[in-house]
Amino acid sequence: MTRKASPEVTKLVDELATIVTKKYVSAHIFERIKSSIDTFPYEAEKENLPYAIVMPKSKNEVSEILKYANRREIPVFIRGSGTSFTGASRYHIPGIVINTHRMNDIEVFEDFGFFECGPGCICESVAKEIETRGYFLPFAPGSRLIASMGGLIANNTSAHIVDASVGKPGDYVLGLEVVLPNGEIIETGTKGLRRPAGTDLTKWFVGGDGLLGVVTRIRMRLAPAFERAYGIAIYQDLKSLAKGVQRIYRERRPLPLFMEFMEKETAKIGYKIKGLEIPKGSVILFVSTGNSKEEASQKAEQILSSLRAENPMEAQLIKDIELWEKLWSSREVIGSYLMQESGNQWSSAEVVSNLMELEACMEDASHFNQDLPVLSQLTLYLFGHIGGLTMHPGVIIPKEWDNEKKKRAVDEKFQREAELNLKYHTCGGEWGQFAKRAPFFIMRYGEESYELMKKIKKTFDPNNILNPGVLEGDFNNKENG
């Protein structure tokens, strides 16, 4: 979609108001700014601010907005909480923003074995509804306090959970209600607990990067909660740590629900904040599950037996829950502590290894910023979800840097991330495939795959109305995305 002459905003607002009432349309500058910035450290761009923000309550209102946008050929961006890490919520062209906040209801149908929620529902609210009833939440984003269910499903991210253990959220999605970019409304999937064999339109939208439709209702299976057991291993070096993780898979151990790691220097920070004795090496923390405490502990012991084979300095179950909570939160607080101590902003990449080359990939990740003109000026920190073979090398971006330098830092991060994920034949498993990652998609899967994606997008969205710029990447740098 090319940049077109701006519509008359007053008229646009009036017309949108006929769909959602005037109360739920905003076109003032402050809403337009806040609805177009994301977690990237650089500033909003005047020329790309949306024209207006609209808050529909129902699928029918979403449908009417999309039909209207198609008639007028105005881009539409879908916004949950705007916390994308790949630039998917930073727009490169003005348009109408649909804020999903009002579609935030949740209903639990225990007799049917599923729950349903709107895309604006916050993950934490879902957690409160289902965990208190004894069910398991099959996703664990660090941004659980604010991430919207619509964004979570569009990215199909299990986030910190080890995918190979319990799968991705999509494995729990029974069906969706979707408004297509042309305004047509469809229902996918089933109200049964057996997902469709063969064609299931659900799959186009779960993990669809928001390209093909607007999800207005999500139905997910209720899975019973597990009992948990906790373990720790500390290694002298990252090589042994990597070998320990490889062993878990190769020795066919019951995979943990969570398995986090902190490189030695990074771990020191987290441990210090939590008042723990400073670790002498790099740390693995993991959570095993079972139908009983005993079963969870047995599984954790099996994992420990693999980890012990690589000569850790320490490897044991943690039975003291208070200690475990301190240890676990030592990993969680690192980013916020670094930001608070420096007064600057955290920025990290998502490097994913294959199983075979984990040692080499960890070595590369620990030199993530090497030789990069801007990022190499900064200290590197390293932690991640090692059970999912994922590493988050990160830096603290100084607030004093000018906008351009901050942009270069972000671009270098995605460039190096792409190089490493190409080298190990992997891809991001947490944050979505396009926006800043569009060049990687082409390098990783070839022009043919990218062209296929464009054709698919055109089939669903002939006018490229929905979330333009996400598939195209950095839109402004191209003649015609």
């Binding site: 402050f30 700014i33 923000i53």
Partner: protein, 406 residues
């Protein structure tokens, strides 16, 4: 001790320097904001407004930030900006959330700096807030009441009036309790409780507003004027301990009056009574068979981490069953009365106090207790407006304790 920045004495700097200070607070905080938006869900506005992204802590902070950067202070925009800034209840939830999960920004300092800046630019406060500010200036209270009527509520009570009398403890009543007839019972109950403990206390004959509403509404000059008037009185009468009814006055004395903490012990009445009644449980002889839930006032809880003392007091009463609402302690939902909102109508898609009453009913309570005159008024109004008097009542803890004294 609250770490919020205290503005410099306005007499010591010129106007330009003051404005640069305010801009610095805003720009520095906003530059460090990661827009992670973790502050959204703890914010009362996220639950009570339409939920536009600018109606959130980071949204308000970014609004004033970009207003400065892009010079957006003209026409309709200035009113929109003003309305956004004055929406905030100043509950401090965002500051706690940012500290525990994100960049640890002084979000509230930035929002209040924005209000002060708008006040300097003659854009703020909200139109309805102008009269209470004028009344504080003219009468020493935001309600335009006569100063000489301030101690009327004590008629018939044996309360020392300072001066001419002197007392060990200054019982600081606050404007709302002193002038609002429906709240006199709070003052009277506390007198009874203090007397039962044989505390040597008195109230100021010429008590004036602590200045809190002025600062919340952005009028720093008026705040400092009231602060100086109060400090002069405290000094003149050799005050060593202040026990305050309102968490707002308490927080102002404790965290916003510079240096006072070194010379005067400042306590909220719940803290003072919890300490004083410890080990004296038999004093509460009358059984109160009620299911009570406690609503944490923001300036007691989220601003000063006083969560236990009020609950300990309630648990001293025989027969009381204490239950918690789903949003409690650090995550307590504001009643909507703070930040100058007692004096103006602002956008509320869902009234915060109504939501709070619903939460109290969901918790199974038939009394929602609190320890703040404004919270009490907000909650009481919601109960009355919703015709729920037969299901639940709002009560200040002081009243419940006094009833239990038998």
């Amino acid at each position: 001790m609250n770490q919020r920045k205290v503005a410099r004495d306005l007499h010591s700097i010129d106007e330009e320097e003051y404005i640069e200070d305010l801009k610095g607070i805003i720009l520095d905080a906003a530059k460090r904001c990661r827009n992670c938006n973790y502050c959204f869900t703890i914010c009362p506005l996220f639950h009570s407004t339409r939920g536009f992204m600018s109606q959130t802590p980071s949204g308000i902070m970014q609004s004033i930030n970009y207003a400065l950067k892009w010079d957006v202070f003209k026409g309709e925009d200035q009113e929109i900006l003003r309305d956004l800034l004055y929406l905030c209840t100043t509950c401090n939830g965002c500051v706690l959330r940012c500290k525990s999960k994100a960049t640890g920004l002084p979000v509230l300092d930035a929002i209040e700096a924005g209000r002060k800046l708008l006040r300097e630019m003659m854009i703020g406060p909200l139109p309805q807030q102008r009269k209470p500010l004028k009344d504080i200036y003219l009468y020493g209270n935001p309600y335009g009441e006569k100063p000489e009527r301030r101690v009327d509520w004590t008629k018939g009570l044996k309360v020392k009036i300072i001066p001419p009398e002197r007392a060990e403890v200054l019982f600081y009543v606050g404007c709302t309790t002193a002038y609002e007839p429906s709240l006199h019972l709070i003052g009277k109950s506390l007198v009874r409780l203090l007397q039962s403990l044989h505390v040597d206390f008195g109230i100021l004959n010429e008590e004036v507003c602590c200045g809190e509403p002025a600062r919340r509404m952005g009028d720093e000059g008026l705040f400092q004027e009231m602060m100086n008037r109060n400090l002069d009185q405290f000094k003149s009468y050799g005050i060593k301990t202040i026990v305050s009814i309102s968490p707002h006055c308490f927080n102002t004395f404790l965290n916003e009056y510079p240096t006072i903490q070194e010379e005067i012990k400042i306590q909220h009445y719940t803290e003072f009574l919890a300490e004083a009644f410890k080990g004296k449980k038999p004093l509460f002889k009358k059984e109160i068979s009620s299911v009570i839930t406690y609503h944490d006032p923001c300036y007691l809880g989220k601003h000063n981490q006083i969560f236990n003392a009020p609950r300990e007091l309630l648990q001293m009463i025989p027969g009381v069953k204490l239950v918690e609402m789903k949003m409690t302690r650090e995550e307590s939902l504001c009643c909507g009365g703070g930040g100058g909102r007692m004096f103006a109508e602002v956008e509320e898609e869902r009234r915060l106090s109504d939501m709070r009453i619903t939460q109290a009913l969901e918790a199974g309570a038939n009394i929602i207790a609190t320890a703040c005159p404004w919270c009490y008024k907000m909650l009481q109004n919601s109960i009355q407006d919703s015709n729920l008097e037969d299901k639940i009542r709002a009560k200040d803890i002081s009243i419940i304790l006094s009833e239990a004294l038998n």
